[in-house]
């Protein structure tokens, strides 16, 4: 038995982490509501578990989302995760093949080469030895890349990496040491007992030329075991806790768990699942600060969160969109804001419902649109040409939708405004609510509970009008760049309608990043701490990327983006409604005339 003594550090570490996880899971389950428990019991024996396993395979092992960010970075993560997984699986099969029908503790297959070094052959011995070496090489290439990334992260597609704290560094070093130590230990053993393959034997030969393998063999196996033990013990205190917890998270997410409005077991899982990979850092347009998503999540985990970390954020959602673990960072910030805000201080008793005209369609411009009256006049013009009987709900200023208050964490105050506006909308008896502000639209959809009422952005509604032949558009030879607003794009997944509309009237030139990765204009209402100078800096940087194709117009579909951009943009910034109204054809004869002149123009140009 004395030869097994060296496995003790590993066994102690593994026992510790397994017990820790067990206790953690039990504590989460105890804190869950009966409804949550029902979700688990309903999902456990359903296809949801299978899709969770599939997701674990593709995300926790293969890291597909990271491959999309950068192939080399994806390979690095995959080689470590999937390689380690293969090593464990192949090692287990190898040990079963050696002693079939016997139950083995995990340490047996991991230290197999040492524990069974003296005895003879077993089925497929050569194959297993070769396969294990190949997998080890696969992992070592990942370790090498990880080491390289610490110094030249830009080569792996990351401009900035996470600043690590001491606990993470200890875990990181023990992780880096595990596989080189395994190589050396197996190398030393393979020189003595000839049970290695191409990699371990060559490593052993090199080692043997320096020092006698018999002397160094046992210390190396001890070191390997200790590095494994240290790594497992450091898991709960470091970022590597994501390895086990992410798998649990994926199961719960597949059972229907979502980040809600308070911190609980599920958010706890999300926080522990953050691997601090730092992919979110490059996506952030904010000045370098501790409010970056990765440090914000670390702040919650370490109980060292300061107010700025969740307040100094534009909530554009780019970090949430790119997060390979799928943590809902935006929602998490909303919870922190809610917890810290002074709520229920608003007093809106002065609001009174006015006379209401009953129509099928109501138009809500929103506060921000009122700052750009040309958007309103364009939309009204389009509606009158299309012959729509609508009611302009906030003609005389209107009441805020409540979203800015909600973004500031004042949910109760926001609810007061929501209640007022909701009554106004429902009393109108409308079936369609058209709004020209994505910020309002988001809260209409998420908080207003307007059943049986279609909530549309004006770009969606105008496209419908065009498809119904109620308006006619003329295509011009103007080049356009379109900027996807955060709240409309990432917030509500409306991407295609505005772009399709713009293609009807001009030539749309796509600049990158766009769509789901679109930039924030910098004027976000979610941020109350940025100074004007910092905001302008973000706007200028965004404009440089959006206007890379030198378009004639910059089209937006958010009045706030328009207001922010037009201050600093070298080209005219127009709302989509304004551009449509400029190119609308008032009667059919005019349409014919316009097409005629257009062709004439084209023939002149080409």
């Amino acid at each position: 038995m004395h030869t097994e003594l060296f496995t003790l550090p590993f066994r102690a570490g593994l026992t510790f982490i397994l017990l820790y996880l067990f206790v953690l899971l039990i504590r989460w389950l105890i804190r869950m509501s009966p409804e949550d428990i029902r979700k688990i019991t309903a999902g456990f024996l359903s296809s949801k578990s299978i899709s969770a396993i599939r997701e674990i395979f593709s995300e926790s092992l293969l890291h597909r989302k990271i491959f999309k960010v950068n192939p080399v970075l994806g390979y690095m993560h995959m080689s470590l995760a999937f390689g380690w997984f293969l090593l464990i699986v192949t090692g287990s099969i190898q040990s079963i093949s050696y002693k079939s029908g016997e139950f083995h503790l995990p340490y047996y297959s991991i230290f197999f080469n040492k524990l069974e070094s003296t005895t003879g052959t077993y089925p497929l011995k050569g194959f297993f030895e070769f396969a294990m070496d190949l997998i080890l090489l696969f992992i070592l290439s990942g370790v090498f890349l990880a080491f390289y990334k610490r110094f030249h992260s830009s080569k792996l597609g990351m401009k900035k990496t996470t600043h690590l704290k001491i606990k993470d560094k200890i875990a990181l070093i023990s992780l880096w040491l595990i596989f080189p130590l395994r190589l050396l230990a197996e190398g030393a053993t393979s020189v003595i007992y000839h049970n290695g393959s191409f990699l371990t034997e060559s490593a052993g030969n090199v080692l043997g030329s320096v020092i006698s393998p018999e002397i160094i063999e046992m210390p190396l196996w001890w070191a390997y075991s200790i590095s494994l033990g240290v790594f497992f013990t450091s898991l709960p205190f470091s970022r590597y806790m994501h390895i086990p917890v992410e798998m649990i998270l994926i199961f719960f997410r597949n059972y229907g768990f979502r980040t809600c409005d308070k911190y609980g077991p599920f958010t706890n899982m999300e926080i522990l699942s953050c691997s601090r990979c730092g992919i979110c850092i490059d996506k952030c347009q904010m000045p370098e600060s501790e409010s970056r998503a990765v440090y914000f999540i670390r702040g919650i985990r370490d109980n060292q969160l300061n107010d700025l970390q969740f307040e100094n954020c534009m909530m554009c959602g780019r970090c949430t969109e790119i997060c390979p673990v799928g943590i809902d960072i935006n929602e998490m910030r909303m919870i922190s804001r809610k917890n810290s805000a002074t709520d229920n201080i608003g007093n809106y008793d002065y609001l009174h419902h006015g006379k209401m005209t009953r129509t099928d369609v109501i138009f809500f411009a929103g506060c921000m649109t009122h700052l750009s009256p040309s958007i309103i006049s364009s939309i009204r013009g389009i509606f009158s040409i299309a012959g729509i009987n609508y009611h302009f709900m906030d003609k005389d200023g209107g009441v805020c939708c409540g979203r800015p208050l909600k973004l500031a964490g004042r949910h109760k105050d926001a609810a007061k405004l929501v209640k007022f506006n909701r009554e106004e909308i429902i009393n109108s008896g409308a079936r369609t609510l058209v709004t020209s502000c994505p910020i309002c639209m988001k809260t209409f959809i998420e908080d207003y509970e307007l059943k049986n009422i279609r909530i549309l952005h004006h770009s969606q509604y105008i496209l419908e009008l065009w498809k119904d032949n109620r308006i006619h558009l003329s295509k011009q030879l103007m080049t356009l760049a379109y900027h996807d607003p955060c709240e409309l794009g990432r917030g509500l997944s409306v991407y295609s309608e505005p772009a399709e509309l713009l293609r009807r009237i001009g030539i749309l030139k796509t600049s990158y990043p766009h769509g789901k990765d679109s930039l924030c204009c910098g004027g976000s209402l979610a941020n109350t701490t940025l100074s004007l100078k910092e905001k302008d800096q973000i706007t200028v940087e965004a404009l440089q990327q959006i206007l890379v194709n030198n378009p004639q117009y910059l089209a937006t579909s958010c009045p706030l983006c328009k207001k922010t951009f037009s201050k600093l943009s070298p080209v005219p910034v127009k709302d989509i409604a304004e551009l449509i109204f400029l190119n609308i054809i008032h009667d059919k004869n005019q349409k014919r005339r316009k097409i005629f002149t257009e062709r004439k123009q084209e023939s002149v140009i080409f």
Binding site: C367, G398, L405, G523, L532
Partner: protein, 116 residues
């Protein structure tokens, strides 16, 4: 105080003794948002204000009162704000008005001026 009998009003005396005023709130705000000092009291904020269309809420006056150390009615007035952010977009001096409102809320709730 107000006499509306003859079709006009007489405002109460608005003189203050600056030595007797409490400028704590004002100093707290300028330490958080220095832009507050550059306010020219143009009134664009009040002119664009969503809440001001419905009630006598006057952001310009509110700021003016804080500068004069007249903090008595600040909490009551501020509770009318809807936080929509039009004032911060319209401000010709680029003052972060919403940050000032947030700072005021924080300070006032610390001193227990919100009786909710």
């Amino acid at each position: 105080m107000r006499n509306n009998k003859f079709g006009f009003t007489i405002h109460s005396d608005n003189q203050i003794n600056l030595d007797e005023r409490d400028f704590n709130l004002y100093h707290k705000i300028i330490s958080g948002e220095a832009g507050f000092m550059s306010c020219i009291s143009c009134g664009s904020c009040t002119a664009s204000c969503t809440a001001a269309a419905y009630t006598d809420f006057n952001y310009r006056q509110l700021c003016h009162n804080i500068r004069r150390g007249q903090n008595d009615a600040v909490a009551k007035e501020l509770s009318k704000c809807m936080f929509c952010g039009k004032c911060s977009l319209i401000c010709p001096r680029g003052i972060n008005t919403r940050k000032i409102i947030n700072l005021l809320h924080k300070e006032l709730s610390k001193t227990g001026q919100y009786a909710y």
